[in-house]
Symmetry: C2
Subunit: 189 residues, 2 copies
């Protein structure tokens, strides 16, 4: 039997960085721990240091075997894009600095993996994350997004093991997105 | 006598990250070491890990007391802005992760501190960095920019000690930029 995979999902942000750790063993997924790092206002280096230190504590405490981060696209606001880029850089560095491999997934892939629908709302993601991981209540939005990213990473690996390719399916447009959705739904069901 | 300040300047970039370490003692500045981390093509997390690891080696080898990074403004290309933001995030994390305080300076401040003119060309910055630090030849562009950032940080501190304020002077427009230029020139001369 394979060793259980333990995945840290991160939803990076300069104000709030969500995180969530899931474990998969014997076809079952469980949430180990999840939360939100609330970054105090201040100078950029101090804020990045806060994210880095916060994620280091999370990694030390939960010992994941790999990490997963949502791939972002450029924002309408260039200044916000730069700030988000820096927060992402810090989050990825916290993981690679601890020796964890990091994979990126697009928001579309994450939503498809969790809800089965690429345009799902934040609330739908929260509700599905709660259900998939058997949580007593829906996690806070940023933590739910981080957990969703971890779930997506696990599914991506399973699909690859089954001969599929999450990445290429997602980039092949609507037709194959629908094919992947029904395939995803079968695997999830 | 004050302990010599040793400053790591960083010019972050996803393809090339320049770095340079200077030391100041008894009013003299010297270049300890400078170089360029050439980042191989690959996945983003691997590239950020390369920058992080490269700067860690630099910090371990040169033991700076603080770091200085050029503050960037948003690029015309939003995708490039996001990539640069992530590289900056990694560079700042390498420094704060090693316990170094990090200060940011705008390109205008850096050029004014080094050349005495906010719109100086790359070549002028290279030539002045070579001259100020007494180097046998001009350093590579990215290393020169990193060294210039370190020189700027040192000057900023000296100006503050003299009752000035580099940050407010730079934001007050042409008149005070000129005032600062002549003041800067006196201090540099």
């Amino acid at each position: 039997m394979a060793t259980p995979a333990r995945i840290l999902g991160i939803d990076p942000g300069l104000n709030r960085t969500g995180w969530g750790v899931i474990e998969s063993a014997g076809g079952k997924m469980a949430c180990i721990e999840a939360g939100v790092i609330r970054v105090p206002a201040g100078e950029l280096p101090d804020r990045l240091a806060f994210i880095l230190a916060g994620l280091r504590v999370v990694i030390d405490a939960t010992r994941p075997s790999r990490a997963s981060v949502e791939k972002v696209f450029v924002n309408v606001n260039p200044q916000a894009t730069l700030l988000l880029g820096q927060a992402r850089g810090a989050a990825i560095c916290a993981a690679v600095g601890a020796g964890l491999p990091v994979r990126e997934h697009t928001a579309l892939q994450v939503k498809q993996a969790v809800v089965g629908y690429g345009k799902a709302s934040k609330e739908q993601v929260q509700a599905m994350v709660q259900r998939l991981l058997g949580l007593a209540e829906p996690p806070p939005t940023d933590a739910a997004d981080a957990l969703a990213c971890a779930v997506c990473d696990l599914h991506a690996e399973r699909l690859v093991a089954l001969g599929g390719s999450l990445l290429s399916a997602a980039s092949r447009g609507r037709r194959s997105r629908n094919a992947w959705r029904s395939r995803g739904a079968r695997l999830l069901g």
